[in-house]
Symmetry: C2
Subunit: 219 residues, 2 copies
């Protein structure tokens, strides 16, 4: 789950698309990739629903915000639908990531091959630790956090990944926003304040595991 404090705003597709819808589109996309690999040609909303634990009406409604991709009576063409959803999700282009904070979590993210496989590439590493600055990771030099503004502006950064200690997170966020970053993936366990045109997604594993703890404590 994710909190994000940007306002509802009009976009390419009229009114704001629900967060839950976007998340499901990603899941459908994953299912379509799987079906494509096993050379399935068409798929119904019923089948997509079954594989993702939702209703078929939900699947069709999710698609309907973006257009009409199926053929009545026949279903959806797997290849075509995958391509359409990929375009909607922006997966038809490469995205440049800046990693802010090359500690424990930062290193794990650099090793997390699924980002690379999905067109998300780290192209800038920043840290404030003098013992790290100047060192190389995967052929990339760790840059000084103090130069964030210049490095981000030069580096064509699309998405900034915040993996610094919680005390530094808001300060880093302000600097990123000042440098023009519009998308932030936040691993610090804190709610970040950003202007309405900046989107934040939060990854907080402790909150997720506490949810399980909550459920167990009820029983």
């Amino acid at each position: 789950m994710s909190i994000n404090n940007h306002e509802r705003s009009s976009s390419r597709y009229g009114s704001k698309i629900a967060d839950a819808t976007v998340g499901r589109l990603s899941r459908y996309y994953r299912t379509l990739k799987h079906l494509e690999r096993q050379e399935t040609e068409t798929v119904s909303s019923e089948e997509l629903a079954r594989r993702n634990n939702v209703t078929s009406a939900q699947v069709r409604k999710d698609f309907s915000f973006f257009g009409a991709f199926g053929r009545r009576g026949l279903g959806y063409n797997v290849k075509a639908l995958k391509q359409q959803l990929g375009k909607i999700l922006g997966l038809d282009q490469e995205w440049h990531l800046a990693l802010v904070g090359v500690g424990n979590i930062g290193h794990a993210l650099l090793n997390f091959s699924q980002f690379q496989e999905h067109n998300f590439h780290f192209t800038l590493l920043l840290d404030s630790d003098p013992s790290k600055i100047g060192s190389k990771i995967d052929g990339m030099e760790v840059k000084n956090l103090d130069n964030l503004d210049a490095e981000v502006k030069n580096g064509h950064v699309d998405i900034a990944v915040i993996a610094v200690p919680v005390e530094a997170a808001q300060k880093v966020t302000d600097a990123l926003v000042g440098a023009g970053v519009k998308a932030i993936f936040n691993f610090a366990p804190i709610s970040l304040f950003v202007p309405p045109d900046v989107t934040v997604r939060n990854e907080n594993m402790v909150i997720e595991i506490e949810h399980l703890s909550f459920v167990l404590a009820q029983q």
Copy 2:
């Protein structure tokens, strides 16, 4: 965000508590810890709301499902509220985790100190790779995945963490459910099928980053 296919069911607090409410309770708890460290004695719903990007009515409504913790005109006692929320979230007890799959993600999770700090302890490691079985990590022996049932039953496992490749995830889930596990933290990018009395929380970083990609692609 997390999909989970268990039914609404009655619990200690009557009707099902919304997932979003549980997530916010974790965030309030974190805020209260912070306030406690800086020796703040009382806090208002307004202040908790401000620090978590929600409305004060939301904060009070969230609490109201569990009881009345504040004093009208005065606010909430930080220490007492933290203790109450901790109990609701099950953070007053230790939880035993089984890690299934000691690969890249698995290792990162073992190194993720925040779990230990929050009373979540790995006590069982399982893998199917013969070169890993029998090796020790942090003094713990990696056990054979084939013996999952016996190991889980002996090990007092509260929560199973699934960090195996996507192809193996459902099979592992079925085995865990068979062994009596009621709470699963799933890192495989797939929707798991479980009976109604088992809760699954999904951590899927690719879906989160694709959400950012979606937003950028709209602009």
